[in-house]
């Protein structure tokens, strides 16, 4: 019972939504399903947020290693909840938009979360550099092809590429690095992308069918 009913729900919902694609008057089911998802996700957040609080509160109460950081996390979480729920400092009061300029919630977003966010993202520049240094080595045919393609594109995106190859006469302008880079993007790269995308969609179809037919159901748990 604990597995049959969810299976039934899953198959029925999935099948109905597949069918709804073909029936004009049923298309709004898709919108409704999206809205349902949003609503369920908020409720689920009570579990996630609860988990966050519990994990960190336990660390604090046990004074386990790094408990002080857990205090910081809990404080940050609490401050956001209070300023956001009661819209503290919001010029338009409780009816105002949460991202209203000047509200504490928005200030915290702008001056604390934003810089953290951008910096974490910016670390990528370092990692791209170390990955280029370490991984792009002509070890075998595949790696060499990868390396050459990356190299041409990199050159093509800078003035260096232009400087290096603009001596090539106009009738062979295709071989100038910037043009070669564009060609790689639009011919072999496009072909590879297409193969990947077609493959993915067939993978999704067979995966979805396994789900709808109930062959694959490990994520629904067991009978206990």
């Amino acid at each position: 019972m604990k597995r049959q009913i969810p299976m039934l729900i899953l198959s029925a919902v999935g099948t109905l939504l597949v069918v709804s694609v073909f029936i004009p008057s049923a298309r709004h089911w898709q919108e409704d399903a999206s809205l349902y998802f949003d609503i369920i996700a908020v409720f689920a957040f009570f579990l996630g947020g609860g988990n966050l609080i519990r994990v960190h509160a336990e660390k604090v109460s046990r004074k386990s290693a790094g408990w002080i950081y857990s205090v910081v996390t809990l404080l940050g979480f609490g401050i956001m909840l209070v300023t956001g729920l009661f819209k503290i400092g919001n010029p338009n009061g409780i009816a105002g938009d949460i991202s209203q300029a000047g509200s504490y919630f928005q200030l915290l977003f702008q001056y604390v979360m934003s810089p953290l966010n951008s910096t974490m993202y910016a670390l990528l520049a370092f990692y791209v550099a170390s990955a280029s240094y370490r991984a792009f080595r002509a070890k075998n045919t595949e790696a060499t092809i990868l390396l050459v393609a990356a190299f041409v594109i990199l050159l093509g995106r800078t003035a260096l590429g232009v400087l290096l190859t603009n001596w090539i006469p106009a009738q062979f302008s295709v071989l100038q690095v910037p043009n070669l880079a564009i060609w790689i993007m639009n011919a072999p790269n496009l072909a590879g992308q297409r193969a990947i995308m077609i493959g993915i969609s067939l993978g999704v179809i067979s995966m979805s069918l396994r789900l709808l037919l109930g062959i694959e159901r490990s994520y629904l748990g067991g009978d206990n």
């Binding site: 008057s25 990947i196 993978g203 179809i205 994520y219 748990g221």
Partner: protein, 406 residues
């Protein structure tokens, strides 16, 4: 880019040619300079019909312009609607210049209507004769999707056929995938070293099918983990994924006969913020030093941040995603990468269950169809253009129609 540009140019050229041809006669008869009076012009003919392939509540009105638009005092066409049941009439829209069609979406399926179109010239309404009575209705099937349905049924049919035949015991051959064989090795190494395993099922929620694919692979990995008694750490970005992952791991532990070893804290929610999540995962990696990292699901920019951090601590890394933009980073920084479709196939491979494997064979039929269509299409269009072959042109057009998605 040049090739695409040329195709675009030729499309623009052909369509502008067609456009010129289509407006030629009116141009030669009525030009603005000669300014004929409205009485010289013939009547506007109006056609109204139920809008096709919709959910009802909409009627399309089309009319032709015998030349009013070229009159100097022309201000627009007025669409006039009469509800033939109640007898009430009202204007629905004044259409902008150059428009010959209007989609009236304010009708009821329970009434019948008749439409007239008036040319507004110098403040006068030059009314057409009304159209035939029409009633809007909903269609039960969107005719534009006929080919989608047929092709979909063929591919789904193939998947189901192979699932069924596998169930009956037909032996299926599947080639090996290197990344999958590495999974056991990675788990084994973590066990030997007494270090944990890190599993990240992407950063999307359960409404992404890649997340679900990641969880199905988690199911297999967790079973090995339970048997070896290795530690697993799974931070998640979305609460729903947390719930689903717990069910998955718990089920694996029960199947492995060690339900008591399971603990909810193996899966923990971090934050919904993409880079906040990454900051935490990076922290976990350098502090707990997992021996193996699995990145299986939908990834965005964080792919390389995580994979390079994992690489710096010397972990065996297996990644898999269907986000084409992130595949290069995983390929560069991880030991094994499941590319696109392989992510979805992985759980079927790992389960080894015949029915699951059958579904992969079904997807191969889809690939075969794709390849055949591409090759036939190219050959047909080439022959059609080179030798003017009617039959090849027919094939080309059929294929175009089949794969145009609206």
């Amino acid at each position: 880019m040049l090739a695409l540009l040329r195709i675009a140019k030729s499309i623009v050229f052909i369509s502008s040619l067609l456009f010129v041809i289509s407006i030629l006669p009116t141009h030669s008869v009525y030009s603005r300079d000669t300014s004929p009076s409205s009485s010289d012009l013939g009547p506007i003919t109006v056609r109204a019909f139920d809008t096709d392939n919709d959910a009802g509540g909409s009627i399309t009105v089309e009319w032709d312009d015998p030349g009013y638009e070229r009159l100097s005092g022309f201000a627009g066409f007025l669409v006039w609607r009469t509800n033939t049941l109640t007898g009430t009439s009202d204007s629905v829209e004044v259409t902008p210049f150059g428009t010959r069609t209007y989609d009236d979406r304010s009708v009821s399926d329970d009434s019948t209507y008749s439409y007239s179109v008036a040319a507004l010239v110098n403040g006068e309404r030059l009314m057409s004769t009304p159209s035939m009575q029409v009633r809007s209705s909903k269609q039960w099937f969107d005719g534009r999707l006929t080919w989608v349905l047929i092709l979909g049924l063929i591919i789904c049919g193939a998947v189901i056929y192979f699932i069924e035949s596998a169930k009956r015991g037909t032996k299926l051959f599947l080639r090996r995938i290197a990344g999958l064989e590495a999974i056991d090795e990675a788990v084994g190494r973590a066990t030997e070293m007494g270090r944990p395993i890190l599993f990240v099922a992407g950063i999307q929620d359960m409404d992404d099918v890649q997340t679900i694919a990641g969880l199905t692979i988690l199911g297999s990995i967790a079973r090995t983990v339970a048997e070896y008694d290795t530690k697993i750490n799974m931070p998640v970005r979305a609460s729903l994924v947390m719930t689903a992952a717990r069910e998955t791991i718990k089920h694996a532990y029960v199947t492995a006969g060690r339900p008591d070893a399971y603990n909810d804290d193996m899966v923990h929610y971090v934050t919904d913020e993409q880079f906040g999540f990454v900051a935490a995962v990076d922290g976990i990696m350098v502090r707990e030093r997992p021996a193996a990292c699995f990145f299986l699901g939908a990834f965005f920019a964080e792919s390389l941040i995580m994979a390079e951090t994992g690489n710096s601590i010397g972990a065996i890394q297996v990644a898999g995603t269907a986000m084409p933009a992130q595949l290069p980073f995983f390929v560069a920084a991880c030991d094994y990468t499941l590319i696109g479709e392989e992510l979805f196939a992985a759980s079927a491979y790992l389960s080894g269950e015949p029915r699951q494997l059958g579904s992969l064979k079904g997807a191969d039929v889809g690939k075969a169809i794709a390849m055949i269509v591409i090759l036939v299409g190219v050959i047909a269009t080439t022959i059609a253009s080179a030798w003017n072959s009617e039959s090849m042109l027919w094939i080309e057009n059929l294929l175009r129609q089949m794969f145009s998605t609206g």
